[in-house]
């Protein structure tokens, strides 16, 4: 996936309040700060009060800044940062071959 760019990948796990606008808030933050999101996985957690959003992004210097911005979103309850080999995306890889 990172063939065209050798910057390492990071995976962010966001715990968010689950409602119809929350994806727009998260994606809007990345797009207006011109930070590319390579992959997204989102599903509700347990009773559906909250959801988890996994984002696959490139490790850039600005990632720290973006993470602080994410934490400021009122709908975001927590953010965890993983390295690019997090299984949530590696497990999906088979669906994304030509």
């Amino acid at each position: 996936m990172s063939a065209h760019n050798n910057q390492p990948i990071a995976v962010l796990e966001l715990l968010v309040r689950n409602h119809p606008g929350v994806m727009s808030h998260v994606c809007g933050l990345f797009s207006r700060r011109a930070y590319n999101v390579e992959g997204i996985v989102c599903l509700p957690v347990a009773t559906g009060e909250t959801s988890k959003i996994y984002l696959q992004v490139r490790e850039e210097e600005r990632l720290d800044q973006i993470m602080k911005q994410i934490q400021k979103l009122s709908d975001v309850e927590g953010v965890v940062r993983y390295t690019g080999d997090h299984p949530v995306f590696t497990g999906l890889a088979t669906y994304f071959t030509c």
């Binding site: 606008g21 720290d64 400021k72």
Partner: protein, 560 residues
């Protein structure tokens, strides 16, 4: 137990939160809210003439008081009209709560009449926003909106309420109690000690303060802090008023339209103590060359601001007043005579202004005379352009919340409605709106609102028959190719004001401007004063956009 409609509940909660004035315009989708508002004995409504006006009236109340203020608009065009005022509030961190009507829930997504995705539209320009899906949710959402708007770094919040939600009945056990949420952050003692040591050991420190000082009501402690360690202090546009011009440590604004000596001082400083600022490009110039020799202490309540644009050696995240209070005992009492003498020398060589600048025929002279007549208790709002920068350069502000100006968004049309809001909030004060002939046209309809409420607003138009600041940039940076920045058609603003039922004065008709100003500014109630000025009066010095602050063009810096 009580039964209320969503609309009634909304108004009740706004009353509980101490809201006394709401500016807005009704329409189909917010009529239930208006119907409920009509029955409130505690909230008065101010009918604006354009929703952008309503948004800025709310800003005027919030900016002058520090308290959250509310505005209303209907769905669709009402909401799209108000978004500029929200974007403006967002960039200057102003606690405005905007409540819009929306088409009924069942019709959302059907391209219904006057349906616009206001939630989607306002995500990037508010601190947070809500689309209310049930009347019951209002019990949670409205308190949360007030909490978000006023805590941490303040900002605007939008609440979009579908019409059927406004009409739905809720059973209320009890209303939520407004909590005064003070979120205090505890700094590590290590960071505070380190910051204090850096300050005590610095040879050429500068204190750089901005709007965050205003929001945290830290004006007094900031001044005390500067005085204790004899820190020369420069202010952003949003921080003006923290140190008054007659103060020894006053270094005015920094950046694009700063005095030369201020930008030169910043080039030389070895420590920058930045408090409640965000290193905006109009202040820093080319960021890579800003304060090249300085280590940086950055104090801000918003963790995102630390290291966003400039690496901080120490970042103190927290309420500024709190932080300065804790830092104060650790900072030594110092005179710093050689550094301050050096700065006095810079100022003597490159003075802010020469006495000939204050001639009555010049904008500076007019602005200084206004200040003299209205006195230090007045509130000043400006629009955007040369008149705004002249005011920022010379008006003798000596405390915060007296200068209301659109810093981050630079919105023409800001001045008049913001002045009206400030006057509604401060009925005992004179509010002056210093504007240009371009900007006044952008919300001129609010002259009617000013007359209707008989607010003590004095609109002063420095009329140069042009979009002055744009024209100046074309002259300087586009080979004097002046295009689309001069008005070929002259309008008679004094007559227009009369048509709105407002007292007006026109300096075209008089040779004694001083007398006219005195009479006009001392007559109670709203008035407009049109003052023709030369189209070629420019704002100097100016740092070209994108250049380093050391590149300053123009400005008489040797007095006759």
């Amino acid at each position: 137990m009580e039964q209320l409609t969503g609309a009634e509940l909304t108004i009740r909660l706004l009353e509980e939160y101490g809201i006394e004035t709401i500016a807005g315009i009704p329409g189909g989708a917010n009529l239930p809210l208006y119907d409920a508002l009509s029955r409130s004995s505690r909230i008065r409504h101010v009918l604006a003439r354009h929703e952008q006006g309503a948004g800025f009236i709310a800003q005027g109340m919030a900016r002058s008081s520090g308290k959250p203020a509310v505005c209303f608009a209907t769905s669709g065009p009402g909401a799209t009209n108000i978004v500029t005022a929200l974007a403006d509030a967002n960039l200057d961190s102003i606690p405005v709560i905007c409540i819009t009507g929306q088409v009924p829930l069942s019709m959302i997504g059907t391209d219904a009449f006057q349906e616009v995705d206001v939630y989607g539209l306002t995500i990037p320009i508010t601190k947070h926003n809500f689309l209310v899906r049930s009347a019951q949710d209002l019990l949670r959402i409205i308190p949360e909106a007030f909490h978000i708007a006023t805590t941490g770094r303040p900002g605007p919040v939008l609440i979009d309420i579908p019409k059927d939600v406004q009409l739905d009945i809720v059973d209320i056990e009890e209303l939520p109690i407004p909590a005064s949420a003070v979120v205090s952050v505890v700094h590590s003692q290590d960071d505070l000690t380190l910051a204090a040591a850096m300050i005590n050991n610095a040879k050429r420190p500068v204190f750089y303060v901005g709007g965050g000082i205003v929001h945290s009501d830290a004006g007094a402690v900031a001044r005390f802090f500067a005085e204790k360690n004899s820190l020369p202090t420069t202010m952003t546009l949003m921080g003006l008023g923290v140190i008054p011009p007659e103060h020894d440590l006053f270094m005015g604004m920094l950046g694009m339209h700063a005095a030369r000596s201020t930008n030169m001082m910043l080039d030389e400083c070895d420590l920058l103590i930045a408090a409640g600022v965000r290193f905006d490009d109009r202040a820093t110039g080319k960021i890579g060359e800003f304060c090249p020799e300085a280590r940086i202490i950055h104090i801000d309540i918003d963790p995102c601001e630390i290291c966003k644009l400039k690496e901080a050696h120490v970042g103190l995240v927290g309420d500024i007043r709190d932080t300065l209070d804790r830092l104060l005992p650790l900072v030594e009492s110092r005179a710093r005579s050689s550094w301050n003498q050096h700065i006095q020398l810079l100022r003597a060589r490159h003075p802010f202004f020469c006495s000939e600048n204050f001639d009555f025929s010049s904008p500076y002279g007019i602005i200084m005379r206004i200040a003299e007549i209205v006195g230090e208790d007045a509130i000043v709002a400006t629009d955007v352009g040369k008149h705004q920068m002249w005011t920022a350069q010379v008006y003798p502000f000596n405390r915060t919340r007296r200068f209301l100006t659109s810093g981050g968004l630079g919105t023409m049309g800001f001045g008049l409605p913001t002045a009206i809001g400030a006057a509604l909030e401060n009925p005992d004060k004179t509010v002056v709106c210093i504007t240009g002939d371009g900007s006044i046209m952008m919300n001129i309809q609010e002259l009617a609102t000013a007359v209707e409420h008989d607010v003590n607003v004095k609109v002063i138009v420095l009329n140069n028959q042009s979009l002055g600041l744009v024209r100046q940039q074309q002259k300087l940076f586009y080979n004097e190719h002046i295009f689309a920045s001069e008005y070929e058609h002259q309008v008679d603003l004094a007559t227009i004001a009369k048509g709105f039922g407002m007292k007006s004065f026109d300096a075209r008709d008089t040779l004694v401007l001083d007398e006219l100003l005195t009479v006009a500014l001392q007559t109670p109630g709203p008035s407009l004063i049109n003052i023709p000025i030369s189209i070629d009066e420019e704002v100097y010095p100016i740092v070209p956009p994108g250049a380093a602050n050391s590149v300053m063009i123009g400005g008489n810096y040797e007095c006759a």
